[in-house]
């Protein structure tokens, strides 16, 4: 038998994945061995793991910038600027979620280790998605991420809403996976490979006389990805899941899952299938427009803040899709900027929601926010910053993000989408105003509503998110530079 040739491994490029998954495994092992685990340990462990990854991305970034993108392990994985940037975003989201999780778990009296383990694993899945150079690997990463999140959504074992949210998420998520896979299968048939580099190479060098299979594949793939990033009309799960799932998990869904999903979408659509951009761009544009309009519009009709933010996250997905549909370097960079900013906004916002939600994680109606400014001016102020950021008010990161995607759209000359986007932004602004009105302009139902103590971890998250949002709004240069250096490149496998 001929000796088996093992493929090349670039270990430093695998570091985030190894640290995250290894951290998860180790934490699980420790938890299953030690009787009385110090209560703070899992959280501290997760935060430290996240920070290690975050730190590791710095030298990785330098290395990628100096050595250029690389593909390894048989052309299955690649490391490029986008990988590192998305990894960093995911690491931030992990840290934030972990910080939110502990006070939450303690308040709800829930057992905790698994949440952290799943969080780390799910982040590992996200990293895989961001670095996948093969459709199958991409799919596996997606599944690791999703399955972990299905479980995390159900983790509030005392609330049946939590489990029902998980079930809905699961059924529709699996449905989407099937579409995604079918799309991958057809693309495989049309191009002869699942390696992204091969696919793009093949499509660049071959003119398909009959491209029906390819187009069907792209369409199905798009449906699957649209489900994952909750784009209209594949968004039906989002509000229910956001409402039912534990709030810190929702923060992760909004920040981490969305980031990974869009990273995957960019890799597949823009990078791999970029040669056929003219085929998928209109579809993505329609998805984007529909998401923005429906997300913003339906959000207006909600009375539950968590649902409002769920719909607004749909609208945000629409905005991010704008960057995708531009199918240009500027669009891609803008997507990364948006993802970074949205991560801050989402984690910060859901940190506030977690706090206000109170014991039982149920007080999410607008009523719960009435008079918040009087009870807890600082919390209300921070939420104001975050909401204004989501609305895209100038001098917040939200504006920088929206500006980026819009610029990309305008550069691509699809003005109608840009107009829809701005109309949706105006409608969405009303949503955030409603919350502001409740906080500032309405009296609380009863004066007995007591101050809820904001735990230290939550404070850190909210503080960092607000500071980050404002800082990016005022000094966006660094982030913009990084994002434009992070545009993904395919290297042959």
């Amino acid at each position: 038998m001929p000796p088996v040739v093992t493929p090349e491994v670039i270990w430093w490029a695998l570091l985030p994945l190894l640290v995250l998954s290894g951290g998860g495994f180790l934490l699980l092992t420790i938890a299953s061995l030690v009787r009385r685990l110090p209560e703070a340990l899992p959280q501290a462990w997760t935060v430290v793991t996240g920070l290690i990854v975050l730190t590791a991305t710095v030298p990785m970034w330098d290395r990628v910038q100096s050595d250029g993108p690389r593909s390894f392990l048989g052309g299955m994985v690649a490391v490029d600027g986008s990988t590192v940037l998305v990894t960093a975003i995911l690491a931030i989201a992990v840290v934030a979620t972990a910080l939110l999780a502990r006070p939450y778990l303690r308040r709800e009296d829930l057992p905790g280790v698994e949440l952290y383990v799943l969080l780390l694993m799910s982040a590992a899945g996200g990293v895989v998605m961001a670095s996948a150079d093969d459709l199958i690997v991409l799919f596996l990463g997606l599944e690791i991420l999703s399955i972990a999140v299905y479980v995390m959504a159900a983790l509030h074992l005392r609330r049946i809403e939590s489990q029902e949210a998980a079930l809905k998420y699961f059924v529709l998520g699996a449905f989407a996976s099937a579409f995604l896979l079918y799309g991958m299968a057809l693309i495989y048939g049309a191009t002869g490979s699942t390696r992204m580099a091969h696919i793009s190479g093949y499509l660049a060098s071959t003119i398909l006389v009959q491209d029906g299979m390819l187009l069907a594949g792209i369409a199905l793939l798009l449906v699957g990805l649209a489900f994952k990033v909750a784009a209209v009309p594949f968004h039906a799960w989002t509000p229910d899941v956001y409402q039912g799932a534990p709030s810190p998990v929702v923060a992760w869904m909004a920040a981490g899952v969305k980031t990974a999903g869009f990273a995957a979408m960019l890799r597949v659509l823009v990078v791999t299938l970029g040669t056929h951009a003219s085929d998928w761009r209109p579809a993505v544009a329609v998805l984007a427009a529909a998401s923005m309009v429906v997300g913003a519009w339906v959000a207006v009709l909600q009375t539950d803040v968590k649902r409002m933010l769920a719909y607004s996250s749909i609208a945000h997905a629409g905005f991010i899709l704008l960057g995708v549909q531009a199918a240009s370097e500027r669009g891609t960079a803008a997507v990364y900027v948006y993802l970074f900013v949205y991560t801050l906004l989402a984690t910060g916002s859901f940190a506030v929601i977690t706090t206000v939600g109170g014991r039982g994680d149920a007080a999410h109606g607008l009523d719960a926010y009435r008079g918040l400014a009087r009870r807890q001016p600082v919390l209300a102020g921070a939420f104001t910053v975050l909401l204004l950021g989501q609305a895209g008010i100038p001098f917040t990161g939200g504006f920088v993000a929206k500006l980026g995607v819009l610029a990309a759209v305008v550069e691509g000359r699809t003005y109608w989408v840009a107009m829809v986007a701005m109309a949706a932004a105006a409608v969405a602004a009303f949503v955030y105003l409603r919350i502001l009105v409740a906080m500032y302009l309405e009296a609380p139902e009863s004066d007995t509503a007591d101050r809820t103590e904001v735990p230290a971890g939550t404070r850190v998250v909210i503080g960092v998110a607000c500071a980050g949002v404002l800082l990016i709004g005022l000094v966006p240069g660094l982030l913009l530079d990084i994002a434009s250096d992070a545009v993904p490149v395919l290297v042959g496998g």
Partner: protein
């Protein structure tokens, strides 16, 4: 009659559509998950037939991973169903109306 790849692809497409329709019409979460399995099987069939037409092992390799994923999904999905059903007997997805819009 020679069995061409198109036959397989057609069969898979029908199977996939049936799974999708089932998922959209049935309300029992267990049967919905089964419908997802139908869809995944259609995908598997597609992968294998395309692979054999292309003379490439990639299709079969992909199926291998799809199988793993399918198994994992089912495990988690059923665990969620169990968690719900333990508290509420005989729920259908329509009964899951706590989270109404």
């Amino acid at each position: 009659m020679v069995v061409t790849t198109s036959w397989y692809l057609t069969l898979a497409a029908i199977l996939f559509s049936m799974g999708a329709v089932g998922l959209l019409t049935r309300r029992n979460p267990l049967i919905m998950i089964m419908c997802i399995e139908l869809m995944l099987n259609a995908v598997n069939l597609t992968f294998v037939s395309l692979g054999s037409e292309l003379g490439d092992l990639g299709g079969q390799l992909s199926v291998f991973f799809v199988l793993v994923v399918a198994a994992s999904e089912v495990v988690v999905g059923l665990a969620v169903v169990v968690a719900i059903m333990r508290r509420r007997q005989g729920a259908t997805v329509d009964d899951l109306s706590v989270l109404g819009g």
